[in-house]
Symmetry: C3
Subunit: 331 residues, 3 copies
């Protein structure tokens, strides 16, 4: 790919000689044939030492090679990297796939070996199902959606368009619903609800989204779930919310739109977060959270409040330790 | 299904006109053709606004439609929902399954495509193995047990009757056993033990139960494990205990019978909980727990004690913050 | 296997009569036909009550049966158990596997049914791929490596020799990389990097290792990852480090060599741990950690410091509770 083409694609200005670049790599590993990008000025020193042949940046004169000048490198980051993404272009249905006759399969699909598709399933145009995927009865997979190897979709699941589910994802397993009986044992409550997933949802490897009990579990448009996330039954994840790895959303929880959760955030059930909530790593949410709140700790409370309390507490403890040290010396 | 039939099945009393209902749905989403259920009086307002055509409840006169009156709706909840559960009734062995000749397969089984069954395996009557399941050498699967897509069962595993394992479950992977050698590297200790699982055990999606090292990992009758749970090697989970999502039981741990763990509870190894122990969310258990204790915190201690200490502590910190505020004003 | 042979293999001294033993089992479950081992003197009473026919130990006269005397039982533990490990010796390629013609397959491999191998893949001698494994385009699997059922390897992944990946492992799924756009939605940043995994790496069931974005995710020689571990994109795990179950390493994190993490340790991204770091269970690492440090807590700080502060704090709280008790009585 030529730098001049890249500059054009990202609305940048090429400074220096035009050249072919092989790929884009980070500042520390890019070589002469590569493009690199400076996303943040704090990495300026690293950028100056980069061996890259060309750089996307806001500042001139960083490296000896060529540059593509843009106002805000972060704003063009995704687009720039996408230029180098080699998409898998295979199409067709493997002879080793097992697809029920009573299905509707769109055009230009790729269905790999050892994929099982049950009766009543509808698969949209351009869908890609990698080996070992199973899709249960009457489920619907929207146009352009990709399910990587060994994804398990149960029956009656609705998946929107242009979603990406990574390997090992499970959608539609029974929610964890049991009632104690008179013998103190657990009776299973069958889980009759669906899972409904919007468009442009990405779900990370080995993440689980349970089906609802008497209503549906809903994941709205644009939601991003990282790896090993748990979404309990009847839960609702509002549009464009992002949950990092190992988050666990209990049953019957409503997460608002545009929420952003760092890693290992958990909730108890039957609560609601507002829109634009930010939860720091390991936050344990135990009650409703208002719009726009930044929270931390377990139980979760406003970030600033928790930080002040934690600082005060550490000061109190350190003072006590120092007093006891003096006492001991004084004896 | 007719209301009169449902009333009969759950020992309830039909008040109002008999009608056909399509399914059972929750108070907020049920429509005219649906049945709903009021499990708890705190949802009475929601029930009054329900559009459901019929309701199972203890109180009369909630909705305009018909009702099935029962003393305790929660006690009939599982049974009521089960009436509407459409079981998968497919049977037979797919031509795309690969089953070793030296196996014993019961009657009325369903073995889906791309299922691999190794030599020496015994599969009981009515077992259902969905696509992508693998069952290793000499393992035994009891009558009526269901393994959903992409479940992996290693060799020498014993699974009881009427169990349900959801997609992605792994039973019998090697326990995490290593010894440091003189080069400070890790030598693998082979894991020779089995996993033995009782009857009526349900295991959630992507949960892992490791095989034992020199003894067996044991999951007793009626245990319910949620999604993404980890059970370490040589551990023992007592009958009818229930572990919510993301719980992690370390190796060589004994969990007593009728325990109930909320989400994300962890244990260190080589400890024992009594019977009827309740652990709140995120409890980290570091030593033995007596029968009937309710615990919380990390390290886990009795619930009441921890709550009192936490309240006292917050009061101390708030007082200090308020004093400092006054000091600053006074300056 | 004869005790005399075992004694020879582990450089031990046979005391008592030579005999055949069937297997090795732990002190509490071993029977007359079994060997057992006393790893730690604290289990001496248990050893004395063992029904084992023979024991590996440092002290004489523990049981009535034979013994193999060794200086340090723990040092020969892995080797002793390995003598009883029955390896799977199947070889060949199943007719139900789907292997692209443009691949290089070594000698003495075992490729089970329903394994998918894409174009450009190189598979070394003695590799074992169990049912449901998929290996993406241009990936390389080194000699002697074993991938158990339903492991998913994406494209362009490099795996060293003699590795063991347990069922459900996912290597090479996209890292969690998104940029907010002007509509407050998330644009995907394609993940172009590889995953490079060294020799003798063991990865537990359902663990996920994401591919890098503009550089590679690297797992060095001898690393051991337990079940349900998350390794974010661009991260680096130094040689012979060991991470227990449910650990979550955020993106762009560098874990030094010979680190040892207990269960549920997490890190935020863009930090570095030194060599020989030990992290206690549930530690949350938020900044760089120097060589040789033992850490605990969240945020992680030196073990001793945290323990002293926690003890001081509990003393302060208990004192306050007791004072308040007295106040109330005094009223």
């Amino acid at each position: 790919m030529k730098l001049s083409e890249i500059a054009k694609a990202i609305n940048g200005h090429l400074i220096g000689e035009d050249m072919e670049v092989v790929t884009i790599r980070s500042l520390e590993v890019a070589q002469r044939q590569d493009l690199t990008i400076l996303l943040d000025k704090k990495h300026l020193e690293k950028a100056k030492n980069s061996k890259a042949g060309a750089i996307v940046a806001a500042e001139e004169g960083i490296i000896a090679g060529a540059m593509i000048k843009v106002d805000n490198p972060r704003a063009v980051f995704a687009k720039t990297v996408e230029l180098f993404d080699k998409k898998d272009t295979r199409a067709g249905v493997s002879k080793f796939a097992d697809i029920d006759n009573a299905t509707t399969i769109g055009e230009n699909v790729f269905i790999d070996s050892f994929v099982k598709v049950d009766a009543g399933v509808v698969i949209g145009d351009g869908v890609r199902l990698y080996s070992g995927v199973s899709v249960g009865k009457d489920s619907v997979i929207g146009k352009g959606t990709v399910l990587f190897s060994n994804v398990s979709i149960y029956h009656n699941i609705e998946i929107g368009e242009n979603c990406i589910f990574h390997s090992g994802v499970v959608v539609g397993a029974d929610g964890f619903g049991f009632e104690r009986n008179k013998d103190n044992e657990w009776d299973k409550v069958p889980q009759l609800g669906k899972v409904i997933i919007g468009n442009n949802v990405e779900i990370g490897a080995n993440t689980c989204v349970d089906r609802g009990c008497l209503l549906d579990t809903v994941i709205c448009d644009g939601v991003k779930l990282d790896n090993l996330v748990q979404i309990g039954h009847n839960s609702y994840i509002g549009k464009h919310s992002l949950l990092s790895a190992v988050c666990a959303i209990a049953g019957s929880t409503t997460i608002g739109e545009y929420n952003m959760f760092a890693g290992d955030v958990g909730t108890v059930g039957h609560l609601k977060t507002g829109s634009n909530v930010i939860a720091m790593a390991r936050t344990g949410i135990t009650k409703d959270v208002p719009d726009g709140e930044m929270i931390r700790g377990f139980p979760a409370r406003p970030h600033k409040e928790v930080v002040r309390e934690e600082m005060t507490l550490r000061r109190m403890v350190k003072k006590k330790i120092s007093e006891r040290g003096k006492d001991k010396k004084g004896e």
